[in-house]
Structure formats: C-alpha cells, structure tokens
Symmetry: C2
Subunit: 195 residues, 2 copies
DNA sequence: AAAAAAAGAATGAACGTTCATTTTTGTCTA
DNA sequence: TAGACAAAAATGAACGTTCATTCTTTTTTT
C-alpha cells in the first residue's frame, strides 16, 4: 500500500503543477522540465505516469472537469423540484468558479483552445448530464423554456465564466448580493415566461 | 506607393495566416516557418514587419479586436435611444460572432489564455467604450439595471461567445429565430424591471 | 548603381523524450 | 529475522528535433 500511496502522491503533484503552470504560462510555455521541477520529480518520471505531454494535459483536463461537476452536483438530488434543483446546482457552479478559480481558469483555457484533443473534450462533456436531465424534466413540466440545452447553458451558466475571468483579472469584485442577483437573472432567462 | 502597397499586402497576409494557424493549432503549435509559408513569404521577412513572434500575435490581437468593435458599432450612433442602441449593437455582435467566427474564435482564445501580454489586452478593451457609455446613459435614464458594466456584459453579451463555440464545434446550429430569442433574453437581463 | 526588401540557409537554444544507471521496495531463503 | 536478490520506480544526462531568430546573399525598386 505504501508503494501505491507514494505513486498517487506523485501523480497528484504532477497534475497540480500542470494546472498551475498552464494557468500562468499557457500550454506552449510550460516545458515538461518545469512541471517536473515543481512536482519535485525527475522529467523522466513523468513518463512513468503519463504517455507524453499531450496525455498529461488530457488527463489533467478530465480530472479537473470531474472535480468541477462533482462540486456542482454535490448538494443536488433528482427528487428536488426543477426550480430548487437548478438553484442548487447554479449556486454551486458559481461557488466553484469564484472560489476554486485555479481549476475553473484551467477549464476555461482548455475549452477555448486546441490544447485538448477531441476525445477528451467529449469525455469531459458527459459529466454535465444531470443538469441536462433536469432541464429536460423542466421542459416536460412546462417550467423551463422549450429551447435547446445549449441555449439554456449559454443564458444561465456561461455568464459565470466571464465574471470569473473579470474577477481574476482584478477588474472588479463580486459580492453575495451580486451573485444572488446574477442567479435571479439566470433563472429568469431559462424559466418559461409568466407561469 | 507601389512599395507601400506591397508591404501592406504582405503584412495582411501574415496577420491572416497567424489567425488561421493559431485557431487551428494554438499559439504553441504554430511555428514562424508555417506562418511564413502560408503567407508566401520567407521566415526572415516576418521580422521586417514585426519585432518577434510575441509582437506579431499582440498586433494581430489588437487588429482583430478593432475589427470586432468597428463591426459591432457600425450601425450605431449616439443619438439612438438606449433600447434601440443596445439592440443595434447586440445584433451586430451576434452577427460578428456567428459569421466572422474565425476572428471571433481567435479573440476567444486570446481572452482565455496568457497568449497576449497585459498592455495589449488593455489596449483591446478600450474599443468597447461606446457600449459602456450607452449603458451609463441607460442607467441615468432609469432604463438599465443599476449594476456594474461587467455584470451587464456577462448577462447580455458573453452568452454569445459560448454559442459561437458550440456552433463552431458543430454541436448545434443557431437560426434567426433563436437569435431573436437570445436577444430578448439579453435585453430582459439588463433592462430595469417592469418599467 | 545605390538602397531597400526579401530570401534561404545557418545558428544556437530549448524542448520532448529516451537511455543507462541507481535507488527503493518487496519477497524469499536460510 | 537477516540478508540476498529480483522487480519496480526513479533519476540525471544525453539525444535528436524543432523552433525563433539572425546572417549573408540575391532580387527588386527607385
């Protein structure tokens, strides 16, 4: 067990270093040698855990995406009403983007860049399924606008990415009240009018 | 004039090649030699027009950003009402993101990556000023929600970036009706309630 | 024919990856 | 239980390649 434990620690250190360095310098400007140094490991050791640099960054993406969605759905269960369920998920997503912004920034970079290969991007999308299922239910119940889930996501969730980046750049600071207001705006955007 | 003309053509070809290659491969995977080849120019020639690779990509960013905002404000003038002005600008932004998506994708990558240096990012932001001015006027007139311009942008404009990327990835297709609906959603998000 | 622009080849540095070797871990034997 | 030994893990140095940039020469322009 000691052996396995040690390995997992190193793997985690490599993933952590990758996130931090890619966030600060971008994929192109983070050499394997720097990742190794930050993880306190020899460059050669990386290749015991990952096939190559692309594999390292793909796996990092998938792990961070899983972390994101675990976080988002932590307080949610399917017996909730559509409205409560959405509020629960949305607020967790907001919390993640604003508190765990190292991870959120990394995802934003991956999602706007040809950094990650297609299969890994596909893999990452799967994790959002519970939110899509909730919306489908909402549409059937006549509570949610009968439009594509892409539109719902764009209206209600994607603004949080913009706010996270503006906040991270120090442009302004979000407080509790603004988050509540942003939530109301998100819900208004996706709920069926005048129910 | 012939000399200058020729130079501008080459410069434009270099900028165009940079956009296309960075879009497809990312900054890290587009060597100067490929940019040169696509622009039908020797690698050494690039250095007659730009200081170095970073300068090339910075200048490309600023040019594309200027193109974006010129496009966005083309039909707008300050004598319009707040509501009409916003609709005019918003629809042009939508058009740009969906039709000129090569340029829009490039901007998205720049804005989510440490690819562009800080001064050039700052330079690029300036161009949005007319929209911010319009919002300030709207707040004074009691038409627009009295909240930070960052929030207004997040609610009303940033969803378009998400939709552009989804569309570009072939995930789904936006039609006229959905754009109109997205506009209504955007306007609802920023207008002061129940005026 | 001088000056400017452009070209291709050359250069040196940096990078991803691999190789040969050492260190650590875990197991088996006496 | 001590010690030997095989397997696994880890390492630092080395390799070959690629890249941004520069140098020298050629072509074009005026």
């Amino acid at each position: 067990m000691a052996k396995l434990q040690k390995s997992i620690d190193k793997r985690n250190a490599l993933i952590k270093a990758t996130i931090e360095l890619v966030n600060n310098n971008g994929f192109h400007a983070t050499p394997m040698s720097k990742i190794a140094k930050m993880a306190k490991v020899s460059p050669a050791t990386i290749y015991l855990y990952f096939e190559n640099k692309q594999d390292l960054v793909n796996k990092t993406y998938i792990e961070v995406k899983a972390k994101y969605t675990d976080y988002a759905f932590a307080n949610y269960n399917e017996s909730m009403s559509v409205k409560t369920g959405f509020e629960t998920i949305w607020k967790r997503i907001a919390e993640f983007k604003l508190n765990e912004y190292e991870h959120a920034m990394f995802l934003a970079q991956c999602d706007n860049t040809p950094m990650i290969d297609e299969p890994s991007l596909k893999e990452g999308i799967k994790h959002l399924q519970p939110l899509l299922d909730l919306w489908e239910r909402g549409k059937q119940e006549g509570i949610i606008k009968p439009v594509s889930n892409y539109l719902l996501y764009a209206y209600a969730v994607s603004p949080l990415s913009f706010l996270m980046i503006a906040q991270k750049r120090g442009a302004f600071q979000l407080d509790k009240e603004q988050i509540e207001e942003a939530y109301q705006s998100a819900w208004s955007s996706i709920k069926k009018c005048e129910q």
